[in-house]
Amino acid sequence: MSLIEDFLTQFGFSQELIEGVFAKPGATMPAIFLAGGYNVNEYYKMTGVPAYEIVRNARHLIKSQMNLQYKFKVDLLTCLVDLNIMSESFGAKLYYDHDVLPMPNKPAIESLDDIDQLEIPDPHKDGRMPVIIEAAKLYKEKYKAKSSLIYGGYIEGPITASSNILGVENFMRGLVTNPDLIHKLLDKVTTALIEFGNAQLEAGADAIGIAEPTASSTCISPDFFKEFAFPYLKKINRKLNTPGTLIHICGHTQPIIKQWIKIPNTFIISVDEVDLTKTLETIGNKFIIVAGNISPITLLRETPETIELITKDIINEVGNHGKFVLCPGCDLAPGTPEENIMAFLNAGRKYGKFPI
């Protein structure tokens, strides 16, 4: 276990967090959340700085995240914003709004025949990649020494990024009608994602998270996951200059867990709509931490009392298994009541003391 402890220490895991991950008596089940959309919206409401400015400014991004840290005292910080960073860098156009994250407007290419026109973007120049890299650098300079935080940089997964480059509908169609060209696109995008991820690590990110929602079984079949997502995620994890990554796939993922955990160097899987008992069983003795899985819709719409009960159920289901952290199934929705987020975190602190 000390090997694994060393491994986790490399990512900035504190002793307390490690003990929580291993369900040691006296430790507490760790709780984290992913906040991109929520965080930008909160910061806008607090400061009046419009969302379109926050997502283009590393200083605002870091401040908005530190604001959450100050409020909720979680151990994970990420510069997570929207999932259009790579597509925009390849030339896609986005809608920018004042209170929410940017959204896709026009893909970078309209047809698979135009793949050759796509040039691999420069992470230090194109789109908002320099902003995300700068955020990692700012974190390293200003906060890293002072806190026990883990700072996670992030990239989109190859399917998610490619589908925004080509337009989701065209991408989905292409999976069936033109798999060869889709592979060509994925290959190109994978190269760009690796460069972007490594640039964030070099700038100061402790770890990299990969957000790959479009590869979930809510969107594509497990067979397509195996054929189109797996090889590229494997390549990314092998080529990133880090011993392991977090891979987040929200939506329905039970049918792909087996394949997902075969991706080398995956050390956390962030899950949404799955049966936790089955998922932990599938993982077995492998060292992979599961992060899950209270629904962000529950956090947005239910009462603190209900949220406490649901979180308690998750804690009881996982029990003393270990290799588990409490986490919402996806990015917190803008406008999620603060008392609901507190109810989730507090339930972890209240019921998550080991042994459970």
Partner: protein, 215 residues
Amino acid sequence: MGLIENLKNAVIDGDVDSAARIANEIIDRKMDLKNAILNGLSAGMRVVGKKYEEHEYFIPEVIVSADALNTAFNIIKPHFKDKDTDYKAKVIIGVVKGDIHEIGKNIVAQFLNASGYKVIDLGRNVPPEKFVEAIEKYNADIVAMSTLMTPTLEQMKITIEHLKENGLRNKIKVIIGGAPTDQEFMNEIGADYCCKDANETVSTLDSIIIKNEVN
């Protein structure tokens, strides 16, 4: 197997070329087009919807099936001497303001089209005023709103409030859909129906028609 059955299978298989060829043959042979639409295209799409429900098909497969359906439908449509009043009902459909995910909405629109509804598709990122404007302009019977994301759920509520303010709420049935929607949310915002997929939307609207709830 007859041509209608072949057309149905072309839709199920997402075979655009066969769907086009069969549709042209149906027209050349002057076959009953209404039958081709209902028992070929629509029936095929119902099977596709079922396969999606049962996790046999996923979004890519549904999209290519919808492509086959659309290709055949566009070939048949100009030959189909149908009057405006022959439609079961007029449906305004759109993805609410702030959201651009429209694959699900497009599939629902295609299902409704093939099932005999007149569909006016407002696209994505549709503000409440646009829904109101279209309902008045087309004298629609049904408005269908969708969103994939949680933050934009609020827009459904706002749109319904706009309908009330413009005196339209009681003249129209409001149907909502998309991943984060459910019956509870439907009740909360005062919508009439919440459907989980394209098949359910068609059967729900058909049941409203049978009950004559549409004005």
